[in-house]
Amino acid sequence: MADTVQEFVFNLTFPFSRTLGSTLSTFSSAIAQGQIIGVRTGGRVIAPPLEYDPDTAADSGTDWVCVGPKGTVSTWTWVPEPTNLHPLDHAFGFAFITLDGADTPMIHIVDAGSESAMSAGMRVEAKFKAPADCDGRIDDIIAFIPASDPSPSEGAGEPFDAPAENEITEMDAFSDLRYVDNASPTTIMWAKALMEGRIIGQKCPQCARTIVGPRGMCSVCAIELDESHVVEVPGRGVISNFTIVTPTPYPGQTETEPFARCSILLDDADAVIAQQEILDVPVSEIRVGIHVEVVWAPENERSAVDIDNRSRGSGGDIIVGWRTTGEPDEPADRYLDRMM
C-alpha cells in the first residue's frame, strides 16, 4: 500500500488577457515602436503614464510627451540571485529611472555588470528587444544599460502624436505560482483510512453530530476534534443534492459533455460529502433521494496523491464513484438539518 502524502506541490497557473484601456493602449502601441511616452498632468510629466493624476484623481488626459530613451537613476538596488520571475538570469540592478523629459521615475532593470557600477545620478539608456519581438510591454525594454554618452536624449519632452486608433489594446499576462502545502493531521487520517477502504468521520461529543470527512473540528460547536472522535461510517448513502455542469472550454478543462456532481449523505452521518460522481445513472435521471454505495478502486490502483487539505470529503483516485443500490428513493425530509 502506498504511503499517504505529507506534502503537496501545486502550481496555480492561469493565463490572463488584460484589456489596456486608452492610456495604457497608447503607451503599449508607442513602446512597441521603440518610443517611450509619458503624460503631462497636474503640471508634471508622469512616465510611464497613469490614467489618473495621483494628486487629484482627475483623468490625466491625452497630453502625451516623448520621454527617454536616456534617463537618470535616483535610487537603486541589486539582485544577486535572480528568481524565475526576473527577465535576466544573471545578477542585475533595479532602479528608479527618471527618463529625460519626465518628472517621475519609472522602475526598471539596469544591466550594469556589477553592483559597484550602480549609483544615484548614473546615466542609463534603454536597450530594446529587436523590433519584431516587441509586443507593447514594459519588458520590450530588455534593460537599461550605462549610457555611452550622458548628453540629453534627442526629442525628449516633445509632444507625442498618438495615432487615432491604437494598434495594441490587450496584453497577455501569465500567472504561475508555486505552492508547497503540508498535509494536516486530519488530512493524513482521512487519506490513510481511504487507502484501507474505510470512510471515517468525527463524532462531536457536544452535539453528537458525525462529520464526514473529518475536519478536525465540529463546525457547529466550534470545538476541536481529534483521533479519539473518529468513527467509521458505511459506504452507503443517499443523494441529497446535485448540480449538472455544462462544460465550457477553458485551459485545463477536459470534460466536453454535461456531467453531474452530487452531494451524498452517508448513513450515520450528519454532513454531506460533496462533488461526487454517480457511475450508473444518466445525467438526465439524476435526482435527490437515490440510494448509492461506494465503488472503491482496486487496492493496487489506489493512490493518495490527490488527497490534500483542500479535498475535504473527496475520495481522490481511491473512490472511483458511486453506484445505485436499487432500493426505493428516500423521501426528502430525511436530509433536512444537515451540514454542507
Binding site: 538596488t77 520571475l85 522602475i107 514594459i138 499576462a173 500567472s175 473540528m217 466550534a222
Partner: protein, 356 residues
C-alpha cells in the same frame, strides 16, 4: 473615563505561537485562536454579534480558504460574518465600525496567515501593478530596497541605523513568548552579512511565519463585564497612497501615516508604547518620524514585525500587543500601526487609552 455607548474597546486578545511551518490548516489556526480569546473574556460564542476575519487565499494557495475558515466559528444557527482580504487589523477596523451602529455589543476580529506554503520572494509580485511592475518580476524585497537606498542617500539614516533597529527588536523579543526571531546580536555582526537586495540584508527583511490571532471588542459599559481595564479605541484612521511608489513625491517619508496619525489624534497626548508594523527594519525609522514619536515613546517592546511576520496576522498582533499594554501592563495611552502594500503604501493608525 465613563464610556458612552459609542465608545468601543478591545477587551481580549489571543495569539498562537508563531511557527516557521505549521502542519495545521488556516481553519485549524482560526479555531484555536478564537476559542482562546472567547475563553479569555468568559463569554459564550452566541454572545458575539459580529465576526470578521482578515486573510488572503493567495498565501496558502487555496481558493475560498476564507469560506472554509468559517467552520471554526460554529455557524449553526447562522451568524453575522464578514471577511476582508487584508490584515486582521482591518478586520478589527470593520468590527469597530460595525459596533458603532449600536445594535450589538460584542464583536470578534481574526487574522490568519499560513505564509509558509508560498515563497515571499516571488508570490507578492502578483500584488503589484500588472502592466509596469509584475512583468519585470518586481518583488517586495526590491521595492523595499529602493526605498531604503533613497533613505540612505537622503542622509536621514545609515545601514548601521538599520542594524540597530534589528538588534533592538530582536533583543526586545527575548521577553516575548510569541516571538519567532529573538536574541542578542552585535551591530557589527549584523553588518557583516551579505546583501539580499542592497542595502538590505536578510535580517532587514521580515521572517516567514504561520500564525493566527484574534481580538474581542465590546461597546460601552458592556466592556467592563469582559475586562477589568478595557483598551478604549479613542482614534483610528486608514490612509492610502498611489499604488505606484514612483509617483509619490518623496518615498523617504510616509504621508499616509502622517495623515492617519493626525486623524487618529496621536498628537493629543503622550504615547507610552507604540507597536509599529515595519516589515523591513528601516521602515520603523520612517514610521517613527511620520507618526511624530519622540524618545519618550517605547517602540515595539514585543520585537515588532521583525520578531514574527505572518502576513494577514502581524498587524492585528500590533493592535493586541498595544491593547495588552493597557489591559495588563497599566499603560495609559498606546498606539498600534499596520501597513499594507509596497513601500508603506497603506497605513492604519489606532490610538488606545485606558481609564485614568
Amino acid at each position: 473615563m465613563a464610556p458612552s455607548e459609542n465608545d468601543i474597546a478591545i477587551v481580549g486578545f489571543a495569539q498562537l505561537p508563531p511557527e516557521r511551518r505549521t502542519n495545521l490548516t488556516e481553519s485549524d489556526l482560526v479555531l484555536r485562536s478564537t476559542r482562546e480569546v472567547i475563553a479569555q473574556v468568559g463569554i459564550d460564542k452566541s454572545e458575539i454579534g459580529f465576526t470578521v476575519s482578515g486573510s488572503c487565499d493567495y498565501l496558502s494557495g487555496q481558493g475560498f480558504s476564507f469560506v472554509q475558515n468559517t467552520d471554526a466559528y460554529g455557524m449553526v444557527p447562522a451568524i453575522n460574518e464578514s471577511h476582508v482580504e487584508m490584515d486582521g487589523a482591518w478586520a478589527m477596523y470593520e468590527a469597530y465600525v460595525r459596533l458603532l451602529q449600536g445594535d450589538i455589543d460584542i464583536a470578534m476580529a481574526v487574522g490568519v496567515g499560513k505564509n509558509s506554503n508560498s515563497d515571499p520572494s516571488t508570490l507578492f509580485t502578483v500584488e503589484f501593478d500588472p502592466y509596469y511592475l509584475t512583468p519585470l518580476g518586481t518583488d517586495t524585497w526590491t521595492l523595499a530596497a529602493l526605498q531604503a537606498r533613497a533613505l540612505i542617500d537622503s542622509g536621514k539614516a545609515t545601514e548601521r541605523d538599520f542594524a540597530e533597529v534589528v538588534a533592538r527588536n530582536r533583543s526586545n523579543a527575548k521577553s516575548n513568548p510569541f516571538a519567532q526571531v529573538k536574541g542578542d546580536f552585535s551591530i557589527d555582526e549584523l553588518l557583516a552579512a551579505d546583501y539580499v537586495r542592497n542595502p538590505l540584508r536578510r535580517h532587514d527583511l521580515p521572517p516567514t511565519t504561520d500564525q493566527a490571532a484574534a481580538v474581542i471588542l465590546a461597546r460601552g459599559k458592556r466592556a467592563y463585564d469582559l475586562c477589568e481595564r478595557p483598551a478604549w479605541i479613542t482614534g483610528i484612521d486608514h490612509r492610502i497612497e498611489a499604488h505606484l511608489p514612483t509617483v509619490r513625491k518623496d518615498i523617504t517619508t510616509s504621508v499616509s501615516t502622517r495623515l492617519a496619525a493626525e486623524a487618529a489624534g496621536v498628537g493629543k497626548g503622550p504615547i507610552d508604547v507604540a507597536e509599529l508594523h515595519a516589515p523591513f527594519s528601516f521602515q520603523e525609522l520612517i514610521l517613527r518620524d511620520s507618526l511624530g514619536l519622540d524618545a519618550s515613546t517605547e517602540v515595539n517592546p514585543s520585537g515588532g514585525a521583525l520578531a514574527a511576520h505572518s502576513v494577514m496576522t502581524v498587524g492585528l498582533i500590533r493592535v493586541g500587543e498595544a491593547a495588552n499594554q493597557i489591559i495588563k501592563n497599566g499603560k495609559n495611552r498606546t498606539l498600534a500601526h499596520t501597513t499594507s502594500g509596497p513601500c508603506l503604501q497603506q497605513n492604519l493608525v489606532c490610538v488606545l487609552e485606558g481609564d485614568q
